[in-house]
């Protein structure tokens, strides 16, 4: 068991994948930016490299920064007790990321949730359908410019003021 710092982990990943970028902001956690098509390869390296052994995908989520969707991964290693964050930045419309559902069982549901809320496609996902919203819902609600539909199947989503 050897706990590595995040920057050390980033160095190890960089030695293997040239196209990644390490970003350490002033506040909060630092993260690694990975090309969207490479997420599965990098995740596999993080999981299978004995010195890293990231066996637990804690969190997989996304955010809309108004220019791009940042799909964010948080990993943890039970063996070494270290953690790591990784991001893939994709276009706001029609963006696609390589799925890690084959590597982590937990990613299956989490990727469906990101697809449901942001419309990001995960290539290689076994069953990429909406998970929390109804299948026939229009739009992706966590996008910053999301416009709520006036009604859903004839049920109004707003109501007039009572005053």
């Amino acid at each position: 068991m050897e706990k590595l710092t995040e920057s050390k982990i980033a160095e190890l990943v960089k030695a293997k994948f040239a196209e990644v970028e390490w970003i350490a902001p002033e506040a909060g956690v630092a993260y690694l930016v990975v090309p969207p098509a490479k997420t599965a390869e990098v995740a596999q390296f993080l999981r299978d490299e004995p010195a890293l052994a990231f066996d637990y995908a804690v969190n997989l989520s996304a955010l809309d920064n108004k220019e791009q969707i940042e799909v964010t991964y948080h990993f943890y290693s039970y063996k070494h007790r270290h953690s790591f964050a990784m991001k893939a930045k994709v276009a706001r419309e029609g963006g696609a990321v390589a799925s890690v559902a084959g590597l982590y069982g937990a990613a299956n549901f989490m990727e469906r949730e990101v697809y449901d809320h942001f419309g990001v496609k995960f290539t290689g996902h076994p069953n990429l359908i909406r998970i929390l919203l109804p299948q026939d819902w229009v739009g992706y609600p966590l996008l910053k410019d999301y416009q709520e539909q006036e009604d859903y199947n004839g049920i109004g989503t707003t109501r007039p003021s009572l005053l």
């Binding site: 506040a27 909060g28 956690v29 969190n59 964010t72 069982g105 937990a106 909406r130």
Partner: protein, 379 residues
């Protein structure tokens, strides 16, 4: 083999799809399963979730950093204190706020009381699902006292909104410590009684032992956490292994599944870990009352909080395991993103692969043993 026999006998067999839920008493909220069955045996149970989706994460982007606290109660209303605490910890980490020591102790006291009441619901409801109605009533009776205690602390019995960014909202009311210690003295023998009533009950055990075995590797891959992970035998508790708040100053054990059936990680192990954790929470509470220092309960936090640009991800040990808050700020008083990673959501993810080959009645045991709380799945 079975299929061949049936064909020779001339029986017509086909897969049957059953609908279970969303309004089913054992689904602990509003969950729905499509169960593909072959007779009494499930081929798979496909979870259909989202009935309680309230878009809490979208709301966070509209109500500001402080304003989101009451909504965290609604993420997990059975253990709302830990949901409060997790969000507060994440924002404090991002904004670099130091919480006064007394407030940290108050949070731990509230969270551990809430953990006991949440585990009481979990073990009681599992008994109820398995057909034992009496233990559930005993569990609710004890939980009532905890609700009274927490009500005297913060005014609410279920959705507490007790924790603030930078501390807590109220100090201990008069007589709280004496009343809580009286409750704990009374409660420990009750857990023993609960064990005699249900843990050692043969019918109860036979419904759970050896059912839905999850190996450690599977549990880790599917992101199971908390009692579900420890039930599979991995000794890991965030309070112990990645300590936050004042847990590093407190002495407690991390119980793991006892492997009673010889196959660790079954429904009974997950159940029994929760029973053992109640004993540990009692221990923690006694220590807290001895060690709690005097002092402030709330740090000086501006009303219009503007955490610096950046993001933080903080995990805490909720009653349902690993509760992670991912908060992102762009330097304004409105969050860019708040995401909550919950244990129940992870547990729902494993059910499809786990249900293969189980009886339909076992599905109820599986849901109950994972201690799934539907609003935490759907948020």
């Amino acid at each position: 083999m079975v299929d061949a026999l049936k064909k020779e006998d001339g029986f017509h067999t086909e897969e049957m799809v059953l609908n279970m839920g969303p309004q089913h008493p054992s689904t602990h909220g509003v969950l729905r399963f499509e169960v593909y069955t072959d007779g009494e045996v499930m081929r798979k149970a496909v979870a259909d979730i989202g009935y309680l989706h309230r878009g809490i994460e979208k709301i966070a982007e509209k109500v500001g950093w402080h304003g989101f606290m009451p909504y965290t109660d609604r993420i997990d209303y059975v253990a709302a204190m830990t949901a409060n605490q997790g969000y507060a910890c994440a924002v404090e980490k991002l904004a670099g706020i130091v919480v006064p020591k007394r407030a940290e102790y108050l949070r731990v006291i509230a969270a551990e009381l809430n953990r006991i009441s949440s585990h009481l619901i979990a073990v009681g409801a599992l008994g109820l699902d398995m057909g034992a109605a009496t233990p559930f009533v005993h569990a609710l009776r004890e939980r009532e006292t905890i609700n009274d205690l927490l009500e005297s602390l913060c005014g609410a019995r279920l959705t507490y909104n007790y924790v603030r960014i930078g501390g807590v909202s109220y100090d201990l009311p008069e007589g709280f410590i004496a009343r809580t210690i009286a409750f704990l003295d009374h409660f420990k023998p009750i857990v023993d009684e609960f064990n005699r009533l249900i843990t050692d009950n043969k019918i109860f055990r036979e419904r759970l032992e050896g059912v839905a075995v999850v190996s450690i590797d599977e549990a880790i891959s599917y992101g199971l956490c908390g009692a579900n992970l420890r039930g599979s035998g991995l000794k890991f508790d965030i309070r112990k292994d990645e300590p936050y708040s004042v847990y590093s100053e407190l002495d407690f054990e991390v119980p793991v599944g006892i492997c009673a059936s010889g196959r660790g990680g079954d429904c009974f192990d997950r159940y029994y870990v929760r029973i053992l954790e109640m004993y540990e929470s009692i221990k923690i509470l006694y220590q807290c009352f001895k060690q709690i220092p005097e002092g402030d309960i709330l740090a000086d936090v501006p009303r219009k909080l503007r955490p610096p640009k950046g993001e933080a991800f903080v995990r805490i040990e909720s009653a349902r395991g690993d509760m992670g808050y991912w908060v992102v700020s762009d330097g304004t008083d409105m969050p860019v993103r708040v995401h909550c990673r919950t244990g129940s959501f992870a547990a729902m993810g494993i059910i499809e692969s786990l249900s293969k080959g189980l009886m339909i009645a076992d599905l109820v045991a599986v849901i109950g043993s994972f201690d799934i709380v539907a609003p935490e799945v759907d948020r």
